[in-house]
């Protein structure tokens, strides 16, 4: 494999990924509201794909663009382009850029390598912090009889699930004492669904793959994804207790107790995330509409059509139309 092949591949990947990220800014603004109308399970999948899209589409378009050259160099389909007569595989329309100057290339690649190294260090650092946080939680908590639930002796109100590969639910002793048996079932069913789905790990992976997006879009996508995950777990809680109103009431009860303990002065410096409660309650109050079969069929058809379109762009992508 020639250096030119790798160079044009790297350049093309970054170009296509940036193009997708750029297009995502207006597109997401347009469809964001419509997405909230979709059932949370479908929305969560779409958002995950959207976060992955720069890496995914960038990768597919690059491979597709490089395919004719690769086939030519391996004598699978020869003579597709006279410029390949020298036997060096490359992506034609990026080739002039590759040839501009070796110095520019080396500096560009070095900067990119440094940025990637920096990000890799950040990922490692974050993984160590996650692991340490999880170990600390295990040290300070006591396992309860109900499933993967751990109790933390604290006078604060909290319940959450944490952990990347073996997530557990953690609940404060005060909250445990204040909730009725049914409300506790709701909370634990919700958290255990997070654990089963490994939502923390999912979100971590998607937040890293979404680094190609512009910060504003990435933030919106991650926030919407978080909401979709919460709604999926709310539905799991409804299925467990069989009463959607009870789930909604439990959310309100815990929000009230949190309000009583979050000092007013801290409000200015902490995230105001109450809007999620609104949407979650609304979803719980309104009966979920079944997904229309035709919509599902046409969505799959449209997705296949887009994929076919991308693959049919192979030659134009290779020679730039």
């Amino acid at each position: 494999m020639s250096m030119h092949f790798i160079q044009s591949g790297v350049l093309a990947s970054f170009f296509f990924a940036s193009l997708v990220a750029l297009l995502s800014i207006p597109c997401y603004q347009i469809v964001r509201h419509k997405l909230t109308l979709l059932p949370c399970q479908i929305r969560s999948k779409i958002l995950a794909l959207w976060l992955l899209s720069p890496v995914l589409v960038g990768g597919i378009l690059t491979l597709s663009g490089l395919l004719p050259s690769w086939m030519d160099s391996h004598e699978i389909a020869t003579q597709h382009c006279t410029s390949h007569n020298n036997g060096i595989a490359h992506l034609c329309w990026f080739d002039p850029i590759v040839h501009i100057s070796d110095v520019i290339w080396m500096s560009g690649v070095s900067i990119m390598a440094l940025v990637m190294l920096f990000n890799a260090c950040k990922v490692m650092n974050l993984m160590i912090k996650y692991w340490r946080f999880q170990t600390t939680l295990q040290a300070i908590s006591e396992k309860q009889t109900q499933g993967n639930v751990f109790r933390i002796a604290s006078e604060r109100f909290f319940v959450f699930s944490a952990g990347l590969f073996t997530p557990h639910a953690f609940i404060s002793s005060r909250l445990l004492n204040q909730l009725s048996a049914k409300q506790l079932d709701v909370v634990l069913a919700h958290e255990q669904e997070h654990c089963l789905r490994r939502d923390v790990l999912r979100r971590l992976i998607l937040s890293f793959t979404g680094l190609f997006h512009f910060p504003g879009t990435r933030q919106h996508l991650l926030s919407d994804l978080e909401l979709a995950h919460e709604q999926i777990c709310d539905i799991a809680a409804v299925q467990k207790v069989g009463d959607r109103f009870l789930v909604a009431e439990t959310i309100i009860k815990i929000a009230r107790q949190l309000n009583a303990l979050v000092p007013e002065l801290e409000v200015g410096v902490i995230a105001f995330n109450g809007s999620h409660i609104d949407i979650r309650i609304q979803q719980l109050l309104n009966q979920p509409k079944p997904v229309n079969r035709y919509t599902l069929f046409f969505s799959t058809f449209l997705f296949s059509l887009i994929l076919y379109g991308i693959l049919s762009l192979t030659m134009p992508l290779h020679h730039f139309l």
Partner: protein, 135 residues
């Protein structure tokens, strides 16, 4: 992300502390006999774990003959209390960097009037739902 303020304690360090809390003071040989052999770890590993805990000011030591004898410098409840406080501070200041998924955002505050309105809405839905004849 806010890092936990207390020195991080690994699983072996916690096990050593738990052992010393339950059994009083011991030298490295005694701790190794109780924990090291069960876990298949060497005397040196236990020795360095005790040394680390001493540097973190969680153990005190005095020399008897040629060996150091270690005892805990903090009570179990005190250390646990500090660690719990650190975790609670981390999660309540929205500095978790996606480390957890909470039932209701711990760092958020929703307006009480707004919660009243939502509660009223739930009651309305509940009463209209219970008034509907079951099919």
């Amino acid at each position: 992300m806010q890092i936990l303020k207390r020195p991080y304690l690994g699983e072996l360090e916690m096990a050593v502390l738990e052992y010393l809390w339950s059994n009083g003071e011991f030298d490295a040989k005694g701790v190794h006999a109780a924990l090291g052999k069960l876990r298949g770890i060497s005397h040196n590993t236990i020795q360095s774990t005790l040394e680390r805990l001493f540097k973190k000011k969680l153990l005190m030591r005095h020399k008897i003959s040629h060996a150091y004898v270690y005892q805990t410098a903090v009570a179990r409840e005190e250390l646990m209390g500090r660690m719990i406080n650190d975790v609670v501070n981390t999660i309540s200041k929205d500095n978790t960097d996606g480390m957890l998924a909470a039932f209701v955002d711990i760092a958020a505050r929703t307006d009480d009037v707004h919660l009243d309105r939502l509660e009223q809405l739930i009651n309305e839905y509940r009463s209209s739902h219970s008034n509907k004849p079951s099919s």
